[in-house]
Amino acid sequence: MNIIVCVKQVLDPELPPSAFKIDPEAKKAIPPRDRAPVISPFDENAVEAALRIKDVHGGQITTLCLGQDLDMAVVKKPLSMGADELVLLQDNAFEGGDSFATAYALATAIKKIGEFDLIFCGRQAADWDAGQVGSGIAELLGIPSVSPAQKIEIKDGKVVVERVVADGYEVVEVSPPALITVSNELGEPRYPTMKGIMAAKKKTVTVWTAQDLGLDQSMIGASAAKSKMLKLFVPVREAKCEFVAGETAEEFGANLALKLREAKLL
């Protein structure tokens, strides 16, 4: 199985909200200086899903990443986990693109990569939480998609996917080529091994610009976007926490119950 995994570099979503800052003029989040970006967590789940299939069936895993200001140590993480190739779509011309523009660029790059059986994406990125790019790539390539998956197996040449729904899951069968988005229910992604990290460091990365993909200005970045952002702001949270008093943890517990009774919540 040859699998292409699309990954995105995002601000670390574990960043405490107090450290989260935006530039309202530019309508962008400001990356904190002291905290490196990460691969979006669901995308790491997607890499893990691909590695599990490779563990059993072999094949080649190519990771594909579009973005600006990419941190090589971050975007190489899938390689150190066990992926084989990394293709970066790095061009300032991609700036300002929405899900539509991004899916278009990624689908074009996938066509240029050529052969694949499966495409995996995270169910949504930890920054815009849109969850559109996977569906978009599938639509642009004219292939079926299943979303979001908690388990992916290959049986008799078919892909068997456990699709997460509100009250459980559905088992869905699809034949390659297909696109599948992956959710955290798949389980924790593996840690890179020391050997993997060393190999990833030496690995040559393919970098493509918009021109390499034959994309002109009208098809990428802000000019291709279907949605326009009017405003970005940080919501005000007015809650003020009342901490219960006490000397010991036991007292805290009992006093919390009394406090709730006082507030008529109990």
């Binding site: 849109a130 569906s135 979303s147 088992v171 949605s227 809650a239 517990g253 009992a254 119950a257």
Partner: protein, 333 residues
């Protein structure tokens, strides 16, 4: 192409009844349609839609478009997208709304790409701009750390999904009248490239998380399966349900469907108690509708205290037993 007109909602139906998200969609859809002075339509897809079509009228729709066909028994991306593409081309709506549900999350983007238009996912607020008459879409981003306001200026329909429980349904009005129009699916089964071979329902013991008035959530700090049994004891005592943040679900301490947050369940209880959890943005997104937030955590700097109304700082293993004990006394006394 004809001018795009009207607001259309995609209603979800389970066993011949409208789901709660459908009522929420009808509620906001009615408001937008009134602000535009246009009609509100509801499109229902499935096999055995039954009385749901009439129900949609009582909850606000002027017209209901029913596509009832055995081929639509299971949600599948290919079949539902194809039917919705046909419906949208036939009706040319100005606005199309779906729910941020298992179906909406998958169908809305695929359909938007097929129709060549934009979509905003997981909106918590929608309004019509009085000048431009465009739908102004408000959506949390960065796990709720920021909020974005967007419009889709150039293409139609303007598509959005709405967050579960973010919009108010209208009261049922039995005097409302409307028209039910049947649309044939006319689907080539060969065009459906996926097959649903099994459905596995997680068993829910006690009260459903989404419906519970009291929700007790645990996080990574609970440490394992055993800790969660204490949370269950508390939930039972208060007549509530247990939920969890992502790590306990991923580690298998609790079932995956108990995950509360952006990609899990959205809960709106009267009382939410968060124990041994830091309060990541992704989790907070699922509890922001809770009326009262109570937190127990070792770390006074934990983010959960930034949104909590009442807090106790300490090791939950020591705080919780005395809390449960005192609750018991107060409830029996």
């Amino acid at each position: 192409m004809a001018e795009n007109k009207g607001v259309l909602i995609y209603g979800e139906v389970t066993e011949g009844k409208l789901d709660s998200i459908s009522l929420e969609l009808l509620g906001i859809g009615r408001k937008l349609a009134d602000d535009l002075g246009q009609e509100l339509g509801a499109v229902l897809l499935g096999s055995g839609i039954g009385d749901a079509a009439k129900e949609a009228i009582l909850f606000g729709a002027d017209k209901v478009y029913a596509v009832d066909d055995p081929v639509l028994k299971d949600y599948q991306t290919d079949s539902y997208t194809a039917v919705m593409e046909k419906v949208c081309k036939q009706l040319s709506p100005d606005i199309l709304l779906l729910g941020q549900t298992a179906i909406g999350r998958d169908l809305a983007p695929r359909l938007a790409f097929r129709l060549g238009t934009g979509v905003t996912m997981d909106c918590i607020e929608l309004a019509i701009d009085p000048q431009t008459k465009l739908m102004v879409q408000t959506k949390p981003v960065y796990g709720g750390n920021a909020v974005a306001v967007l419009v889709c200026e150039q293409t139609k329909p303007q598509i959005a999904t709405i967050r579960v429980k973010a919009m108010e349904p209208l009261a049922r009005d039995d005097s409302r009248t409307g028209e039910v129009i049947s649309i044939p699916a006319e689907l080539d089964p060969a065009a459906i490239r996926t097959k649903v071979v099994d459905k596995v329902k997680e068993e829910v013991v006690g009260i459903k998380l989404e419906d519970a008035k009291v929700v007790v959530c645990g996080g990574r700090g609970i440490g394992g399966v055993e800790g969660f049994s204490q949370l269950e004891e508390l939930a039972k005592l208060l007549g509530g349900a247990v939920g969890a943040t992502r790590p306990p679900c991923d580690s298998g301490w609790v079932a995956a469907h108990l995950q509360v947050g952006l990609t899990g369940k959205i809960v709106t209880p009267d009382v939410y108690i968060g124990i041994g959890l830091s309060g990541s943005s992704q989790h907070i997104a699922g509890i922001s509708g809770a009326k009262n937030i109570i937190a127990i955590n070792r770390d006074p700097e934990a983010n959960i205290f930034k949104v909590a109304h009442y807090g106790a700082v300490g090791d939950y293993k020591k705080v919780l037993p005395s809390f449960i004990q005192k609750c018991k006394e107060l409830l029996s006394g």
